[in-house]
């Protein structure tokens, strides 16, 4: 059996049942799903949620929506086939390692493709049938928050990218693309007056979906990256609209085929983005829908964008890969924390073999996405624990000698503090100990005493559980 969303959900039920919630009560796709997720967030709970009875745009109930899938890194580890407890550096490293073991996709027949169980073309392809979600109050309309795939020119291969797609009418969506790979393909076609074929993939195994957040180099075929993350070839099938010329994933839940129209710009947005702010309404390209194919009992996969579900691990893994390229064997971990909205902050732990290496690590990290605060720490500091990172800044960093400011580097338009349109100022903090002079030791209890004194020998487990959690 090929890996798909259903095989992942079965695995989740078996391995992490406490992280999986099924809701049968009817809920509206208009703000109610995200309202429930905010209630959970307020209680510091981030389960994956399968909504069994969601009202679609057309008011029809009974649709299924699966969301918040990547809000907990243990579930990302599970998606990659790791022990969920290995969600720290093991996960980052595995992500980076997999990306270098590309796996060729295979093509299957329509009869073998679950995503072809229902095929709607022409006027029958109506977006109103789908439970496209209204996420935030000022969003222009309901939004798709998942992968848009395009084919790069000259048969280089396919690009998978997270793009917001705004419902406009039964057969049109708006699309916003940052100036990366999909944008390049679109503008190259547009210059020739040609439409750009796209397929929007709403639902697949999360390992497939995560290929869309990995910042792979332009010449890579991202179906091969998705195969690498899945650990097996992605099964592809000809699209309804372009046949063999645009292959789509056979094991997806829902695929919307369409064309980005050349020379057309219409208002799109505002939209609550990963930065935690609304991106403004702007004149953006439009997708004309050509076909919708889906499984009989499809599950619409959504990202709880603007919150912890945003899978910043794609940036993190590529930083790991590039730092590891320049400092082989020295990287202990890379973490892009949610507090920095995953795209803005990066914490890198290295074995510091000589002075100057933290700056090399930071320089490599600077080339991935839009980091504007890069903190390099020693290998005794856990970069996945922000209290440890701040401890390191507090005790191993002096701004006059350990702070580097780099102006006019590429930033994200979604950073509201940027004073220029596309560039920001990046800050590198070297919070490592000097290696050419003595440095004090951190306090610690002897290891032998730690091994001898077990908590349960002194305080009953139930009593320990009653003690409130202190987070500061």
């Amino acid at each position: 059996m090929a890996s798909d969303l259903r095989s992942y959900i079965s695995q989740l039920e078996e391995v992490l049942p406490q992280q999986y919630v099924v809701i049968e009560k009817e809920i509206d796709s208009r703000f109610e799903i995200t309202a429930l997720l905010r209630r959970l967030e307020k209680a510091d709970k981030f389960p994956s949620v399968l909504f069994e009875n969601v009202k679609a745009i057309n008011g029809q109930s009974g649709k299924r929506v699966f969301t918040n899938v990547t809000a907990d890194r243990r579930r990302i580890a599970l998606a990659l086939g790791l022990d969920p407890d290995k969600w720290r550096s093991e996960l980052t490293a595995e992500f980076a390692r997999r990306a270098e073991k590309l796996i060729e996709p295979v093509t299957v027949s329509r009869a073998e493709a679950p995503v072809k169980q229902v095929v709607k073309v022409g006027a029958g392809a109506d977006l109103q049938d789908l439970p496209i979600i209204y996420h935030h109050e000022m969003d222009g309309n309901p939004y798709g928050t998942l992968l848009v795939l395009t084919k790069k020119p000259e048969n280089i291969g396919y690009n998978l990218a997270y793009h917001r797609t705004m419902y406009k009418s039964p057969q049109q969506t708006g699309i916003h693309m940052s100036p990366f790979h999909s944008w390049k393909t679109f503008t190259d076609n547009e210059k020739k007056g040609l439409p750009t074929p796209v397929a929007i993939v709403h639902g697949h195994h999360p390992a497939f979906i995560l290929a869309g957040v990995f910042m792979s180099p332009w010449p890579w075929d991202e179906y091969k990256v998705a195969g690498a993350f899945l650990g097996e070839p992605v099964r592809l099938v000809p699209s309804e609209t372009w046949g063999e010329d645009l292959l789509v994933p056979a094991d997806a839940e829902v695929i919307i085929e369409g064309e980005i129209l050349p020379g057309v710009r219409e208002p799109e947005g505002p939209f609550g983005e990963w930065s935690g702010y609304y991106g403004p309404q702007r004149q953006n390209p439009v997708i004309q829908v050509k076909a919708i194919t889906h499984r009989q009992d499809y599950i619409w996969y959504d990202t709880d964008i603007g919150h912890l579900d945003h899978p910043g691990i794609g940036w993190e893994a590529e930083i790991y890969r590039r730092v590891n390229d320049v400092l082989p064997g020295s990287v202990r971990g890379v973490f892009c924390p949610y507090s920095g909205r995953e795209g803005f902050h990066a914490y890198i732990s290295i074995e510091k073999l000589s002075e100057g290496l933290p700056a090399i690590a930071a320089s490599a990290a600077q080339t991935v996405g839009y980091p504007k605060l890069i903190v390099v720490v020693d290998d005794d500091i856990d970069p996945y624990d922000e209290r440890e990172v701040l401890f390191s800044i507090a005790t191993r960093f002096q701004a006059d000698k350990d702070l580097t400011v780099l102006k006019n580097v590429r930033g994200s338009m979604l950073d509201p503090s940027m004073s220029r349109l596309t560039t920001h100022t990046s800050t590198f903090i070297d919070a490592t100990k000097p290696i050419d002079e003595p440095f004090p030791l951190r306090v610690q209890v002897p290891q032998a005493a730690l091994e001898k004194v077990k908590l349960e020998d002194y305080i009953p487990r139930e009593r320990v559980d009653e003690i409130p959690y202190t987070s500061y």
Partner: protein, 47 residues
Amino acid sequence: MVQIAWLRCPDCDGKFYVEKPQLGKDANWFCPFCKRTVKESEVNEIV
């Protein structure tokens, strides 16, 4: 950050923002609250 300008919808009075450098061309915008298409020239207030 892309520069923003707040527009006030002439119908429902809802406020939303658009990309400021794209103003000045009397383009169509649309109100996320009442879904009305709004020409820049008919917007009640631009801040």
